[in-house]
């Protein structure tokens, strides 16, 4: 079910673009999630019983000064958790989740292999959480476009021109007040 190709004419579907930093889930059969990936990774999750699907789109951030590791996993982990929580809120069960991973290309050969780092983070997350990885199309040097129908789990994957993909520079940690503490 998760592997059926999408027919080329998605008439009547509402296409929702999943931007970097977003995680969306739905059981709506008239929706199609769509995203273009360079070094970023998109996780597609699907619960075949609840017929709920979701997609996120992330790029690991550079760590704050003195953090000591090559990349900051907090943001990727946050977007993974956000996706899982969105799925559960729509009626999916964590034990039923199946995953696809796409993206993680090393588009700019002069940069650190941020695409590979993103891909490895995503694989490790799924393994740690016990979520089955059914299909992956990661790495390489070409940008990808992913269309995903959340209610059926159908995926269409195409390679696209690199210029269509979002910038490949690792972003700084998001500016919004992340990690803010409020004591009652």
């Amino acid at each position: 079910m998760f592997h059926k190709p999408i027919l080329p004419n998605p008439s009547g579907l509402e296409r929702v673009t999943v931007m970097q930093g977003q995680a969306l889930a739905s059981a709506d059969a008239t929706l199609e999630f769509s995203t273009v990936l360079g070094s970023c990774v998109a996780t597609c999750l699907f619960d075949p019983d609840a017929r709920v699907g979701g997609m996120n789109h992330f790029l690991l951030a550079e760590p704050p000064a003195g953090y000591g590791t090559a990349v900051d996993e907090h943001y990727g982990l946050y977007l993974m958790e956000l996706l899982v929580n969105e799925m559960l809120a729509k009626g999916a069960r964590k034990s039923k989740l199946k995953a696809h991973l796409y993206g993680g290309a090393n588009v700019n050969r002069n940069m650190m292999k941020i695409g590979s780092v993103n891909a490895e983070f995503a694989r490790k997350f799924l393994a740690n959480e016990g979520i089955a990885l059914m299909r992956e199309d990661l790495g390489g040097t070409q940008a990808r476009r992913v269309d995903f129908r959340p209610a059926s789990g159908q995926v269409r994957l195409r390679t696209v021109e690199d210029r269509l993909a979002p910038p490949v520079q690792p972003t700084a940690r998001p500016a919004k007040s992340l990690g803010d503490v409020e004591l009652f």
Partner: protein, 123 residues
């Protein structure tokens, strides 16, 4: 003389527990882990702790339920409980506060801010 602050982290995500464990043990805290509210109650029935850090969305018993259950008895009535969550709604925050949470921290967490909050509520 200082004693090690003991923390129980409650989160259904093994990845998040590992990240928390790394961030907190690196600062010298003694960290234990529970995978949901029920596991936390079981652990707390047998062990002492100085601070509880809990997620909200968890199977079996969520963070709200955990806080309510801990506040019902006398043993953990004054225990600092920090909520660490992806939830950003004011309504959920108000609910946590009403249930008896000590503080509210939005993920993705900043290790320095988290550690500062733990030190503040544990003294």
């Amino acid at each position: 003389m200082t004693t090690t602050t003991r923390i129980l982290t409650v989160d259904d995500s093994p990845s998040m527990r590992a990240l928390l464990n790394h961030a907190l043990t690196a600062q010298g805290f003694d960290v234990s882990q529970a995978e949901d509210g029920m596991a936390a109650l079981d652990w707390l029935a047998l062990n002492e702790v100085d601070v509880v850090i809990t997620d909200i969305n968890m199977p079996r018993l969520d963070g709200f339920g955990l806080i309510e259950r801990l506040r019902e008895g006398s043993r953990h009535r004054d225990r600092p409980i920090l909520v660490l969550t992806t939830e950003s709604s004011e309504e959920k925050k108000a609910r946590a506060r009403a249930a008896g949470a000590t503080g509210w921290i939005v993920k993705p967490f900043d290790p320095a801010k988290l550690v500062a909050a733990v030190r503040r509520v544990s003294h």
